[in-house]
């Protein structure tokens, strides 16, 4: 008989309910362990039992964060577990947001310790790292077996009410918490030690890392819209049918630009999406739903804007690395600048 109870959260995909066609399902309950929960159950051992699994579609959660979190809290509350676990989400953005949001809601509302795991570039990390323990994983589910034991070990500690050590010892992402403790040397002495190490070019560890999330000061607004040239850019993967530049449907390594001069709208016969991270049905029925060429052309014709730039830029924002995105952005910005574009509308799915 298990002594400790765990409730696990997974998305529709890992619950083996379905892929993109099932992303809109609201939270539902499955008794016992499901999908990656089975491996987690094994890693936790006999004293622990995953009593229930909450399953929710990724888009449903991401588009209804508050409602979905409340539902998850209500379900978890009805099982009274010792620990709540979500994921691992790897580099799946919507799933990462769902894992982070449900863990922080369960922690805040129910006071039940919560653990999740994801890749360092998952947007769920920056959103929710402050309140919860998030364990680093690789960017793909191929490394599931590395993630599970580390999750299990933190679940056990939290469930037993043991003290959790600092992030570098326990192996979770820093939460930005400062903990008071007594040390032998004063701050001045430690700072001088650090400075000396730095001057000698030796490694040292700061006690207060600066946040690295860079902010860009907003550009100046457009003065006269009626004489401005506006360009369209999208991460939604809208390309001419057949994807001539072979942009990848996930982890894109390239962007492309296509001529839209003289076109009034994007027809499904000529354009499609190659984005692999959302249900393509609506974008393929009418690509203007992702790249609003028809609206922009109308606004050009009625004189609201001076001109719609003759080309649009596209990539796929689906687990695409920050480094690649920065590279695309720099190249696109340089081209738009030299073409005399005054402002940009960028659409993201």
């Amino acid at each position: 008989m298990a002594r400790y109870r765990v409730v696990h959260y997974v998305n529709q995909f890992f619950a083996q309910i379905g892929g993109e066609e099932e992303v809109n399902i609201p939270p539902l309950i499955k008794e016992g362990a499901v999908g990656p929960g089975r491996a987690l159950q094994q890693a936790l051992g006999e004293e622990w039992e995953i009593v229930a699994t909450v399953v929710c579609g990724d888009s449903y959660f991401a588009e209804n964060i508050e409602t979905a979190s409340e539902t998850v809290v209500a379900i978890v509350s009805s099982y009274q577990p010792n620990v709540f676990v979500a994921g691992p989400a790897f580099n799946a953005g919507r799933y990462g947001v769902a894992c982070g949001a449900s863990c922080s809601a369960v922690g805040e509302k129910l006071g039940i310790p919560a653990v999740t795991a994801m890749y360092e570039e998952n947007p769920g990390l920056e959103l929710y790292r402050k309140g919860i323990c998030i364990i680093p994983t690789a960017d793909s589910a191929l490394r599931m077996k590395d993630a599970i034991p580390r999750m299990a070990s933190l679940v056990r500690k939290l469930g037993l009410g043991q003290e959790i050590g600092p992030p570098q010892e326990e192996g979770y992402f820093p939460r930005g918490l400062r903990v008071n403790r007594f040390v032998d040397r004063t701050g001045a002495e430690r700072a001088v030690d650090m400075l000396l190490l730095k001057l000698k070019g030796e490694p040292f560890q700061t006690e207060y890392p600066m946040p690295t999330f860079e902010r860009i000061p907003p550009s100046l607004p457009i003065g006269d819209l009626s004489s401005a040239t506006i360009a369209l850019v999208t991460t939604g993967g809208i390309v001419p049918r057949g994807n001539p530049d072979r942009i990848e449907s996930a982890s894109a390594s390239r962007f492309a630009e296509y001529d839209i001069a003289g076109l009034d709208a994007l027809t499904p016969a000529a354009y499609e999406t190659v984005h692999g991270g959302y249900d393509p049905v609506y974008a393929n029925e009418d690509p203007d739903r992702v790249l609003p060429l028809d609206a922009m052309r109308a606004l050009e014709k009625d004189g609201t804007i001076g001109k719609l730039y003759d080309r649009y830029y596209v990539t796929v924002g689906n687990a695409t690395s920050v480094a690649n995105s920065e590279r695309f952005g720099k190249a696109i910005a340089a081209e738009l600048k030299s073409a005399g574009v005054d402002g940009v509308i960028l659409t993201s799915t």
Binding site: S59, A62, E63, I65, G93, R94, V97, P123, E126, L127, F213, E214, R215, I216, P217, P218, S219, L220, P221, I222, G223, L225, I230, V233, G236, Y278, P280, V281, Y282, E285, D288, R289, V290, L291, P292, D294, A295, M296, A298, L299, T304, I305, E326, F328, G329, K330, I332, A333, A334, L336, K337, V341, D342, G343, V344, I345, L346, T347, S348, T349
Partner: protein, 74 residues
């Protein structure tokens, strides 16, 4: 998007998931409809859907004309 902003071009981010847009650091954010159809709603009749898209495009253009000092959701 940040690189475009850095280059000095104002950029309006029509984003399906606003918290993600805030996290990555967009400065001018316009909430869109939904992930698979940020600028559309297949449940609406065609002409209403076109109007919806036109309104969102206008909102994005208004964001481009607005001076902002920090991240702003329009």
């Amino acid at each position: 998007m940040k690189e475009i902003d850095r280059a000095g071009l104002p950029v309006a981010h029509l984003a399906a998931i606003v918290p993600i847009s805030l996290t990555v650091g967009a400065n001018r954010i316009v909430p869109a409809v939904a992930i698979p159809h940020p600028l559309g709603n297949p449940a609406l009749p065609k002409d209403e859907e076109r109007q919806l898209r036109l309104n969102l495009a206008k909102k994005a253009l208004a964001a481009l004309q607005m001076e902002v000092k920090e991240q702003t959701v329009f």
